[in-house]
Symmetry: C2
Subunit: 233 residues, 2 copies
Amino acid sequence: MARLPLYLRALSALSERGVPTVSSEELAAAAGVNSAKLRKDLSYLGSYGTRGVGYDVEYLVYQISRELGLTQDWPVAIIGIGNLGHALANYGGFASRGFRVAALLDADRAVAGQRIAGMVVRHMDDLEQIVRDDRVSIGVITTPAPAAQGVCDRLVAAGITSILNFAPTVLAVPEGVDVRKVDLSIELQILAFHEQRKSATDAGPTLPPTAPPPAGTAARGDRGGDLPEVMPA
Amino acid sequence: MARLPLYLRALSALSERGVPTVSSEELAAAAGVNSAKLRKDLSYLGSYGTRGVGYDVEYLVYQISRELGLTQDWPVAIIGIGNLGHALANYGGFASRGFRVAALLDADRAVAGQRIAGMVVRHMDDLEQIVRDDRVSIGVITTPAPAAQGVCDRLVAAGITSILNFAPTVLAVPEGVDVRKVDLSIELQILAFHEQRKSATDAGPTLPPTAPPPAGTAARGDRGGDLPEVMPA
DNA sequence: AGGCTTTTGTGAACGTGTGCACAAAGCTGA
DNA sequence: TCAGCTTTGTGCACACGTTCACAAAAGCCT
């Protein structure tokens, strides 16, 4: 379930505040979901609540952590040290939860060799060796879009089966490989879509009539692969 | 529909390669979805395909762009110029699609005043004025988690109804305000979950039996608000 | 000890989104 | 002009996730 990390976050906050138990109602509110949904999700990992009382916070934190595999170490490699890769390398949110940034890689020899976040950036040539030696289990792709599929193929060939893709491309991977995609432009476009609907309903028809057959009138084009370029420094 | 941006991206790539028409089958493959689903999505904006031929690429690009509201200008403000905010400010993917970074803001007076990506970072004190003067329509929150709700409240009070949240918090907003969340830790945790299941089925039971009532044994805690701190420079 | 309150766990209805399969529609070539 | 081929648009069934509502269970108070 994709909601477990959400619950874990809310529970951890409660744990720090010393709250011993929590009801499904309270926890659901903190996580922003329906209480029945939360109870069903939790019952999926086995019933560990007490009727009339609620759930033991510490115990539930432990259970979810174990279910998510957060009790073990997950070495992560970041490929493509542009703006985004640079930011992720310095991002503190990884280390705290078993996700250890094990390696940074870039195709540009001017970038490889630099020290970023206390690590030396390695060159793409060493990818396979690094994955093998450091037992990397998750690859994070922050390259420009045209390079993403190639990097992905090499990661898969090296044995990686979990990829987090920030490049605006649909990656083709064989069965058994998990890819999750984070696309900032798409998020913004969805917001813009809803924003437009709001202002449209404020004044005017929801779907203004369209000129039927105009050809060759492309609006602002989606120029494809505009991910962060390699950062100057 | 959240898939329209995906189609738009695929169509734009075809457009650049000079492809005049495309069938639902081809486009679906490029976008990584089912062809029937794609046809249904497109029929939702009005039937603009030709049976036996396919869809006119340029025309479809125009239609989707208009439906998404990409034919107009969307000024974006980025609040919290830490690692992530810095990267986003330099990110080229915004400008190309009607999303113009109109303002950068930070609560730290040492950060305000700096020039980043050709813009001067403003102080949070000026938030309301900036939103009003620059007609900001989308707010991007890249602050540490504890500050996110406060920033969110101020954005909403200033009239913003679309927010993209990178802070690891569930934001409470009134009816009518859209919030989309991007949480890197959660994406990684979901990957770790699946990765664990894979190795678990390789050798051993899928769900190893649990010690029933151990209290006070929290595993690696989710330390909550570990978003990028404000960047040194 | 027993009834009352609280809260879990879950059965069942509901709504939504997905995918199949096919008829209608348009193009092509003879 | 007409048969045949291709591809769209959509009715229908199905599966999934969500939500309601309630019975069973646990604690608490008198």
